[in-house]
């Protein structure tokens, strides 16, 4: 049986993750406990690996919420299952998708990137590209309710590096990873 793992599998394993198979991918379900993870995110900052999400690159304006990468250039990111339409390039495997959430997520990103992440410059559901921790990143704000949250898409080979730098830079805000369970709970 085919085993599919994100770039951060061993990172999660070393952090004591309990895994669950999610659309064929082995994803971390829980690291410490659901309550603790949710509490850390809502009071500080947390980061989750959602690399299993389907992503495709297209030149045709998508019907749903597309991430605009440039003039006539879009990225569509969606929960599986989803078949990319004809002509689109499947980039699911190309990008690791890191979700940073919590009241202090802007502060942590402000230590790693020169991007302006203020409300005015990056309203909810908008997308920007730039360098985060010296790695080219597609960044999209997708607040979880009233809590700021950002998806960071980095090329898969950089994922572990970026993940670790985020956790390190977020120490002053008790940055911790959170699993699929906590994510579902935060999404309500």
């Amino acid at each position: 049986m085919l085993i599919q793992r994100s770039a951060l599998f061993y990172c999660h394993q070393r952090a004591g993750a309990h895994f669950v198979t999610h659309h064929g991918w082995q994803m971390p379900d829980v690291f410490s406990s659901l309550d603790e993870e949710v509490a850390l995110v809502t009071s500080g900052v947390g980061i989750a690996d959602v690399s299993y999400r389907i992503k495709y690159d297209t030149r045709i304006q998508p019907a749903g919420p597309g991430w605009s990468l440039g003039f006539g250039h879009f990225l569509v990111v969606s929960e599986p299952p989803l078949d990319p339409p004809e002509g689109a390039t499947d980039v699911t495997s190309v990008y690791a998708d890191l979700l940073m959430a919590g009241p202090f997520s802007r502060e942590v990103l402000g230590k790693l990137s020169s991007l302006n992440l203020s409300n005015e410059s990056l309203p909810n559901l908008s997308c920007v590209q730039g360098s985060v921790a010296h790695v080219h990143t597609i960044l999209r704000r997708e607040d979880l309710g009233s809590m700021p949250a950002f998806h960071l898409l980095v090329s898969r080979e950089y994922a572990e590096s970026v993940w670790q730098i985020i956790l390190q830079s977020g120490r002053e805000f008790q940055a911790n990873p959170f699993g699929m369970k906590a994510l579902q709970s935060l999404r309500g």
Binding site: L2, H134, E157
Partner: protein, 873 residues
């Protein structure tokens, strides 16, 4: 709270700076001067002068007068032998005849003399020891705002409140620990400022950065700001503040007056005495003499001293001063008519607008005779200056500096007024050359204390006006910044292939290739040396099967109806005529015909190609393709899919047997010939199989989704176990390809290599319509080559190093680019650039190896399987 000062424990009160706590404990000497080791005490108490710099918790040159106390800090003096109180090197001041201005240009005219004394001078004239370990984790941060205001004095706070009330997002940067500027320590400045500090604190929208100093104002309103440590274990944080508008409200600072012994501990600026009294509740001295002429100012000081119980012995004007007296501290002041005994001399010096940032940003400073100051005139776009920094309340006549070798102008590097006069007399009469020759204004205070006086003396000595003399250039950093803060954290991104942890498990010894980590070889048992491991991996590929991770190859998905047209344009071969299911070697040249990159291009469908590039050139190739597309309206989309595929090359006579256990794809030579490609499942993973042969054996590159790569890799190793498969690393791969005489772009070629010279003319199709580099290549095709890339072999096990010189008839005639010991040939082989006349089978060349000339013979054929039969079976 307590701090440790040398061996002494010093009590500190909340709100104290280090210097305040030390002053309260009776400490008067805070540093020793740079050149003469004269004792120095507090002068500005505001972080502007160099006198209070000490080593704090291992960090040198900390301005203790503005650094808040943290319980348990370890503080010590610097540049003093053996102690601040007793410094034997202070005897050097009596040898000052031997050390006139510019003395080491005059004395050490021979190189040997300078090298002999340099270590001693460096030690004597130090500015503290560099820390052995970093003070903590340095961080960077970015901040965006509508208005950034530098300085939280009256003007800065007013500006911040106004801008904020108008709805702007405001950041206020202040280098003191509390906002207020002189309102905090000068009672008379408070009229009209009632409640300003409270209003500022109440307005939470304003982001106030206390204890943070702005060291540079750069293009596009970028401010460099250093923030103090934000939490234990960290050091300073450097903030890049980008502001729509910058308001410079840095105020004005007081500067010293020049008279003999003006540097003795106990001689301080009036503002410094007021700071000590009002900010820290200190009594700066018992008996004070005030040097100053402004009645208001003197009256203000008298009030302050009366409150603190300090007796004002006399008020004198600078014209009457003959000099201060004292040894390690001031004991009196001699004036023309009489002498006063005192332990404190308070100097009301000229006030200078702190306009360094304006000058850095490109603004102009012009001398205003009425104000006695250089004031900003032409301001850069979106920068304004308010308050004292704009010269608003400045009015001071230029005070006459006293001549003398103990009348110090520059405290940072012990430059006296005599030194400056001598400098001018020696011909350095332009302010910028005088600055460089005497080093006045070039020390840690960045000219704050001495700039005005230096300019004044230069003007006086040359008979020019101050306006004509001009102002020295102000550059960032202003003030100084630690290198750690500029460097920031040590985050360096690392690229890991999807098989990284699998390699780790197999005992990989890593090789850094750019940001990538690649296995150099696999250590099978801990003691196995590299040579044996590589040989083992080599023979596995030649005799059985080997598996290597090639995920670092650049991978581009090129699709659209004009995809072939684009590839025809940028690569030298034909690609629009490539049949789906076939692959072709691809060589890319620039307009001058120089090789840029190589790889393979596979046609997956009518409108879809899969391009691989070398590991290091991916970003370049991607941009090159995009650049060529930019001028067209072609239907092509190039997507970088490098990270999305795990790629592994399985090669060796048993490769087919291994692979066919995991796939339904027909791998027979007829169904899947050399240079063909197929999309098929391998162990259940949708994969792209390319039959290519970099190492010269039957083999396939398996490109599968990265998330499945580790699984597929494991399955391949498991399936190959019965055939003796081994994972192999870069080192074995390099040896295997060298036996096939396959070149590596960037290793065997350089910035001048052309395909014809590199023996790759077969990959250039001049019959194509137009392509990048065609004109140059057409010329090269018929012209005699300048040099040629050939193979060489030499007997024995001694392998020449890369870069060894090729020598023919005693003359340099080329260079070795790659070389290894060939197990099949049992001799050293390699690739080398040689003169064209030597590029024939069997020609003899010499290779200089560790000083010896070794004979080698040239070959134009692969060393291994020259017909390529093994590759095609």
């Amino acid at each position: 709270m307590k701090i440790f000062f040398g061996k002494r424990e010093v009590e500190a009160r909340p709100g104290d700076t280090i210097a305040a706590a030390l002053y309260r404990s009776g400490q008067r000497i805070f540093s020793r001067s740079f050149k003469y080791h004269r004792p120095r005490g507090l002068v500005c108490a505001a972080g502007k002068c160099p006198n209070c710099m000490m080593n704090v918790d291992g960090v040198p040159n900390v301005r203790t007068c503005i650094t808040p106390v943290i319980d348990g800090m370890k503080v010590k003096g610097q540049n003093a032998f053996p102690s601040l109180e007793h410094d034997g090197l202070s005897a050097t001041q009596y040898l000052d005849r031997l050390m006139p201005v510019g003395w080491y240009y005059k004395i050490f005219t021979s190189r040997t003399a300078w090298h002999a004394v340099e270590p001693f001078i460096r030690r004597m004239a130090g500015l503290g020891e560099p820390p052995a370990v970093a003070a903590g984790e340095y961080e960077h941060g970015w901040l965006h705002c509508d208005v950034a205001i530098v300085g939280a004095g009256y003007a800065g706070m007013t500006a911040a409140l106004e801008a904020s009330e108008r709805g702007s997002k405001v950041t206020l940067i202040d280098d003191q620990s509390e906002p207020g500027g002189q309102l905090l320590y000068r009672k008379r400045s408070r009229s009209g400022a009632d409640g300003l500090i409270e209003r500022l604190k109440a307005r939470s929208e304003i982001r106030v950065l206390q204890g943070s100093y702005c060291f540079g104002l750069y293009e596009g309103n970028l401010l460099g700001v250093v923030q103090p440590a934000q939490r234990p274990g960290t050091a300073e944080r450097l903030l890049h503040v980008r502001a729509g508008h910058v308001v410079v409200a840095t105020g004005a600072y007081e500067t010293p007056l020049v008279f003999p012994n003006n540097d003795l501990p106990g001689v301080m600026l009036a503002t410094a005495a007021q700071r000590l009294m009002h900010l820290f509740g200190l009594q700066p001295g018992r008996r004070a003499v005030i040097i100053g002429a402004d009645e208001d100012r003197v009256g203000e000081l008298r009030d302050d001293f009366r409150e603190k119980g300090t007796e004002v012995v006399a008020v004198v004007s600078i014209e009457d001063v003959v000099g201060a007296t004292g040894g390690s501290e001031v004991t009196g002041l001699r004036c023309r008519n009489r002498k006063f005994s005192c332990d404190l001399i308070v100097v009301c010096g000229p006030r200078v607008p702190d306009a360094g940032l304006i000058a850095q940003a490109g603004g102009k400073l012009e001398w205003n005779q009425l104000q006695g100051a250089f004031v900003p005139t032409a301001l850069p776009h979106n920068v304004s200056v308010v308050g004292d920094a704009a010269g608003e309340t400045i009015s001071a006549a230029f005070p006459p500096p006293a001549a003398g070798k103990r009348s110090f102008v520059c405290f940072c590097s012990d430059v006296s007024s005599k030194d400056l006069c001598d400098g001018v007399a020696e011909g350095f009469d332009h302010i910028e050359t005088l600055k460089r020759y005497t080093t006045s204004t070039m020390g840690p205070c960045q000219g704050r204390m001495c700039q005005l006086m230096t300019i004044g003396i230069c003007a006086q000595e040359t008979g020019r006006s101050i306006a004509d003399t001009g102002v020295t250039t102000s550059r960032p950093p202003n003030p100084s910044v630690t290198l750690g803060a500029l460097a920031g954290n040590s985050h360096h991104p690392v690229r890991r292939t999807p098989l990284h942890d699998a390699h780790e498990e197999l005992g990989a010894v890593w090789l850094d290739m750019g940001d990538w980590k690649r296995p150099r070889y696999y250590r099978t048992a801990v003691a196995t040396p590299e040579k044996e491991s590589v040989q083992g991996e080599y023979w596995a590929v030649r005799e059985r099967a080997g598996l290597i991770d090639v995920s670092t190859l650049g991978k581009l998905d090129v699709r659209g109806s004009d995809a072939g047209r684009l590839l025809d344009k940028v690569y030298t071969h034909h690609f629009s005529d490539l049949r789906p299911g076939r692959a072709r070697y691809a060589l890319m040249c620039d307009e001058a015909g120089v090789i840029l990159d190589d790889g393979t291009i596979s046609r997956l469908g009518d409108d879809r190609y899969f391009v691989t590039t070398t590991t290091g050139n991916l970003d370049f190739v991607y941009q090159w393709l995009e650049w060529h597309l930019a001028e067209t309206s072609w239907d092509v989309r190039v997507t970088n899919v490098t990270g999305g595929f795990g790629a592994m090359n399985i090669a060796g006579p048993k490769a087919r047997d291994v692979l066919k256990k995991l796939t339904d794809c027909d791998l027979s030579p007829t169904a899947f010939p050399y240079m063909a490609c197929r999309q098929a499942e391998v162990s259940g993973a949708r994969s792209l199989l390319l039959r290519v042969g970099f190492v010269g054996e039957t083999g396939w590159e398996v490109h599968c989704p990265a998330e499945a790569a580790e699984f597929v890799w494991g399955e391949l190793l498991e399936a190959g176990r019965e055939f003796g498969i081994r994972p192999f690393g870069i080192e074995a791969q390099r040896l295997l390809r060298l036996e096939k005489r396959h070149l590596i772009v960037g290793v065997d070629t350089d910035a001048l290599s052309t395909p014809y010279e590199a023996d790759m003319g077969w990959a250039v199709k001049l019959d194509k319509q137009d392509f990048t580099g065609k004109a140059a290549l057409a010329k090269f095709a018929s012209a005699p080559p300048r040099e040629r890339l050939v193979g060489f072999a030499l007997p024995g096990t001694n392998v020449p190093e890369d870069g060894c010189a090729v020598v023919v008839d005693g003359k340099l005639a080329g260079r070795v680019t790659s070389s290894r010991y060939s197990p099949v040939k049992q001799m050293a082989i390699g690739l080398a650039w040689v003169r064209p006349e030597k590029a024939r089978e069997g020609a003899s060349i010499g290779i200089r190896q560790s000083g010896r000339l070794v004979p080698a013979s040239v070959t134009l054929r692969p060393f291994y399987d020259p017909e390529g039969t093994r590759l095609r079976t």
